[in-house]
């Protein structure tokens, strides 16, 4: 692929790259930096790019992932920022049952709670979840981007969903209690 062709394709993906960076960055201004660094690296390396099955977007996501990983690793070397390292490498051991009670959940009224729950996921899980749920990446693309085996993609995704569903179970309980209180008032 010619550099010009690559450049045009890459620039067309800036919104997707920013979106992912925004939801992975600890602060919005860092997302700006991550995106700029991602493109700088991409443009420098563009002569190596071959348009294959994965296309430009996963290629940029992969660079972004490396940029963020490097940034967290840099911060990890600073005193007082150890939480981020833990967040980066956390493997959830929190198992929850798949048959969570969401029967009464009002899915249209849980936006903020779900957003917070996604943001609270460990970075490694959040990355995989966002790539799958928001960016519609296939498992093998995610494996390529994050550089982990396919099985790890599946287990992280499963773990992320379980944590989110667990959060939403609490919300469903609150909603059910709320409706119950309202009924009592009416009665």
């Amino acid at each position: 692929m010619t550099p010009d062709a690559f450049r045009k394709l890459a620039l067309a993906e800036i919104d997707a790259v920013y979106r992912l960076a925004y939801h992975l960055a600890p602060r919005p201004d860092l997302a700006d930096d991550y995106v700029q660094e991602t493109y700088l690296r991409a443009f420098r390396a563009k002569t190596d790019f071959q348009l294959n099955d994965f296309g430009v977007r996963p290629y940029l996501f992969k660079i972004l992932h490396n940029v963020i990983h490097s940034a967290f690793a840099r911060e990890a070397r600073q005193p007082g920022l150890l939480d981020n390292v833990e967040d980066l490498h956390t493997q959830s051991t929190d198992r929850v049952s798949g048959s969570v009670d969401l029967e009464h959940l009002d899915w249209d009224a849980m936006d903020e709670r779900l957003k917070q729950a996604v943001q609270a996921l460990p970075l490694a899980h959040r990355t995989v979840f966002l790539l799958c749920a928001v960016e519609n990446m296939k498992y093998r693309e995610i494996a390529e981007i994050v550089e982990i085996p396919l099985g790890t993609v599946m287990s992280r995704l499963h773990s992320a969903r379980q944590q989110l569903l667990k959060q939403l179970t609490g919300l469903a309980t609150e909603q059910r209690l709320g409706r119950s209180v309202q009924r009592d008032k009416v009665d």
Partner: protein, 293 residues
Amino acid sequence: MDEQMDEQDEQTLLSALVDGELEPARKVRALRYLVEHPELLSVVENETKLQATARRVMLDATPATPNSVRQAVLRASFATSADPNGSASSNGDGAMRGVVRRRRWPSVATAAVIALVVGAWAGRAFRTPETLPVASTQLAGSPIDVTLVDALALEHVDCSNLALAQHSYPFPVRLGKLAKFIENDLRTDRPYPEFSSIGYALQGAGRCEPPQGQVVHLLYRSTNPTSQSQTLSLFVEPYSGQYQIETAKLYLLRGDTTQPMLVWRSDNVAYILVGNDLKTIAAAREQMVRERS
């Protein structure tokens, strides 16, 4: 599907089913398994709803890409493409830093460019058929790289905003041999067009960074006290076949910016006029042609 699989394996595979990641044979087996274990239907249903809702929520929660980021990336694109080796270049870093440092106006575009040959309207606007007949064929695409169009628009906006700092020189200092070409083209004794008749005065040229090495940016500002924020940019560049434009044709380019551009060339010089509206740049173009004749 293995009846003995543990709960985690079972749910991981159901997740794969929800994501459409199972090959057909496994998908059939997974569906059959679901029929045999209806209590798991709620898992699939919850994950499906979660997937759809999370996508909607996270998309809604994402702000638009900041213009400063968009423009920084665009500049890096130029800086690195200027490096013929395509290798690591300090230009790219500089472009990023420069953009972060500088204040930006919003709404400079990156999207598609529609290239239009100026048709009947332009024929009315430019009454100079002997020197610049208007092209009559529709172009399939922009004669100028889309990213350059955006960069020129950005340059116009930035330099308009920062003119006092960057265009304080009374006369273009970078014209070099272009000066002679422009004088010949305009048939005047000064290497820049005069737009006083349409209410614009030369602000200057100089330190404003060109998007390409040999582009010179002439900035004009409205002389009307009530509209001094109105500006007009004329980019001039030695022509050596870098754009797919023909002599004696006039091109109108429009990105998703609000700044239209008129592009044409002589044998030696390419001209790109950028302004806040088409009417103004058309009048400026007409003035150049009139001056020449």
